[in-house]
């Protein structure tokens, strides 16, 4: 029983990390229809900024956390203005964005090596261990779960109960009509990128505290976030949560029953099955 509870917690912790990765991706996709894989690179760069300010410059951890969020927001905005907006003006199609975003993802990894060096870094952070119904959980992990729930709740409120949320959805549905109705769609996209990328900063902070930093970690994050988002349905926040839970559950089960080396293989099998059988995900809407 204890072992089962422990496994459920492991699954939840991993799911929260995936959900944080996926939240920004889905948020940006749902308004701009850009599958912003470079989001993984933004997370990696802000995680390094977080590490650099706490470990090297010995800043206060709260200040460093703010720095990470500022870094990710600025990076997201810059990527949107310099790459995605020009592509939009040229009426690029999906493939153009895909190539651009993969290029940005690679550039992020190279930037990390250029700025912070090619070495792995560790913050050496550890927090108190609690025993909750037989499972061992740290304070950081509890904070991670709470933060994830709060973020998704706020995102839900934002998209359903605010004027900004409405204009966001209008922009997503039909950009031309939205702009005819007087919505500044470019401004909406800008705000979406700012907010979505701020979420990358939050993911980066938790990831850096919980695991190690590796210059190429952005690629793996993009893949995991992408997988969770596709399973859930790329435009849906509920989908991001369910997709993360499902992905994490399958991973934990494959580690338990098959061994750790099977984790990614089974995760990709799951992605493959969804792309084949349910390409719009569990909660996705069909777009023409």
């Amino acid at each position: 029983m204890d072992v089962f509870v422990e496994l459920v917690f492991h699954g939840l912790i991993a799911a929260c990390i995936y959900a944080l990765l996926a939240s920004g991706l889905v948020f940006i996709y749902s308004t701009t229809r850009v599958f912003h894989l470079a989001h993984g690179g933004v997370i990696a760069l802000s995680a390094y900024a977080f590490w650099f300010t706490t470990s090297v410059l010995s800043w206060n951890i709260v200040l460093s956390a703010l720095m990470a969020i500022v870094t990710s927001t600025v990076l997201g905005l810059v990527m949107n203005e310099l790459v995605y907006e020009p592509l939009r003006r040229r009426n690029s199609k999906g493939l153009g964005y895909l190539i651009a975003t993969i290029a940005l993802l690679m550039i992020s990894g190279a930037l990390i090596i250029a700025i912070f060096g090619g070495q792995n870094q560790s913050l050496g952070f550890s927090s108190q261990v609690h025993v909750i119904v037989g499972a061992h959980v740290t304070t950081l992990q509890l904070l991670l779960m709470a933060t994830t729930v709060v973020i998704f709740f706020l995102l839900h409120l934002l998209s359903t109960h605010t004027r900004f949320g409405k204009t966001m959805r209008a922009t997503a549905d039909n950009e031309v009509v939205a702009s005819v109705l007087g919505i500044d769609t470019r401004q909406i996209r800008r705000l979406t990128f700012a907010l979505g990328s701020a979420l990358a900063g939050v993911a980066a902070i938790f990831y850096a505290l919980e695991f190690n930093l590796d210059p190429n970690m952005g690629v793996m994050m993009a893949i995991k976030g992408f997988t969770a988002a596709v399973i859930g349905g790329p435009g849906s926040m509920t989908g991001a949560i369910v997709g993360s839970l499902l992905l994490s559950g399958v991973e934990q089960a494959s580690v338990w029953y098959l061994g750790s080396s099977w984790r990614n293989a089974m995760a990709f099998t799951l992605l493959f099955i969804f792309l084949l059988m349910k390409p719009h995900g569990l909660f996705g809407r069909r777009f023409s």
Binding site: V3, E6, L7, H10, I13, A14, I113, G117, G118, Q119, N120, S122, G124, S126, V129, V131, H136, T138, F211, N212, D214, P215, N216, M220, E251, Q252, V255, W256, G259, S260, S261, R263, N264
Partner: protein
């Protein structure tokens, strides 16, 4: 008409640049004034922590040798290639060193996987490969021009196994990374351990979440865990997650985790972890090297034994080339017959008939952020072993 002139001008500039490029590269590439030595070491990624440590050791030895007049009047020039601790990257890097740079000697690889990937290429091109830190037992048979200055993992795993047995730890769990080096350690341990291996699982490089694996490990109820990662980064995460799982178990780690700065930064994580390392002599070359290292880099090396090994490998190579000339076969012969009880920074050194190093290993334990030799410590506090 003006446009045509412009085009002609551009073409001329382009051609001039290409010609100048060729002249430049043939002038620098075909130089006769230096002894070119290739280096394979990971400069990026997980393994960069010890890859760059090797780089500092090589640079130190080369700067000393060059300052003292070089080898037969020639300065040594190191050509670094980032082999990323990865077989595929090492293959490309080796091919580049052999075909483009035309080196006859290569220092490295730092990882076993790199060295095993490089060996077929260097063997075919009759280039000498001298690794300071690739410890996989498989390298013993990698070729007649493959040498190394650090003992094979066979010795390390045997020491760990017999120490565990002598302290009554007869139920072992093994967590190992799926790389040549880490699997070499795992297999060597399994071959010599007489207790029961109750858990034996592997993980892929880049893995960060070991929690479920550790829960599974705990369910197997082992007395000891042997952690065999490829790099300190992965190993440290395993230690962290073992600590967070609330499990209390004796932990042994392979030599990839002997990162002094990491151990000093996180003393509680490493507390009582047992590893095997070559202990440097407390006098002679070892002390000189450490002094020179601190003078050059401003701090002491993180991987002391590997640093000494890399430092020695440059001197061994320089000495051999100085005496038999720039010929890989002759240098191999020199290593085989002339290097007898060679006094190195790493200690008294010999190559065995397979080109493996014969240097003594010692078990060390992390205590309050420092590595303490187990024997010495057992003498001071005899209760340590019985309380385990």
């Amino acid at each position: 008409m003006a446009e045509k002139n412009n085009n002609a001008l551009l073409w001329t500039i382009g051609i001039v640049l290409i010609v100048l490029g060729f002249v430049y590269f043939s002038a620098t590439g075909g130089s006769g004034g230096t002894l070119k030595v290739g280096v394979l070491t990971p400069l990026t990624g997980d393994a960069a922590s010890y890859g760059t440590a090797m780089q500092r050791a090589y640079d130190l030895a080369v700067s000393q040798i060059n300052a003292a007049g070089g080898v037969n009047g020639k300065n040594i020039e190191l050509v670094y290639e980032d082999s990323k601790c990865d077989g595929a990257a090492a293959t490309t890097a080796t091919q580049k060193l052999v075909s483009v740079d035309g080196v006859k000697f290569i220092l490295g690889g730092t990882c076993s996987g790199e060295t095993l990937a490089a060996a077929p290429i260097t063997q075919a091109a009759r280039v000498l490969l001298l690794s300071p830190s690739a410890t996989s037992p498989d390298i013993t048979d990698a070729g007649d021009l493959v040498f190394r200055t650090y003992p094979s993992d066979d010795f390390e795993a045997k020491m760990v196994a017999s120490y565990a047995e002598s302290t009554g730890q007869m139920r072992a769990a093994i967590i190992s990374e799926t790389t040549d080096f880490a699997q070499g350690v795992r297999n060597a341990f399994k071959a010599s351990y007489t207790g029961e291996v109750v858990f034996d699982e592997t993980f892929n490089s880049g893995e960060t979440d070991f929690r479920t694996l550790i829960t599974k490990l705990r369910a197997a109820n082992p007395q000891m865990v042997y952690v065999s990662p490829q790099s300190p980064a992965a190993g440290e995460l395993i230690l962290k997650q073992i600590a967070e799982s609330g499990m209390n178990v004796a932990v042994f780690a392979n030599n990839a985790m002997i990162d002094r700065s990491a151990i000093a930064a996180n003393p509680s994580l490493y507390e009582e972890v047992v590893m095997a390392e070559v202990q440097l002599p407390s006098e002679g070359k070892a002390v000189d090297m450490l002094t020179a290292y601190e003078a050059m880099y401003g701090n002491s090396p993180e991987f002391v034994a590997y640093t000494a090994s890399a430092y020695d490998s440059v001197y061994l190579l320089a000495e051999a080339v100085g005496s038999v000339g720039e010929d890989a076969e002759a240098v191999a012969g020199y290593f085989g017959y002339q290097v007898v009880d060679w006094p190195g920074a790493i200690g008294t050194f010999n190559f065995d008939e397979n080109g493996d190093a014969e240097v003594e290993l010692t078990l060390v334990q992390a205590i309050s952020g420092a590595l303490v030799p187990l024997q010495a410590q057992a003498n001071v506090v005899p209760e340590v072993e019985t309380t385990k």
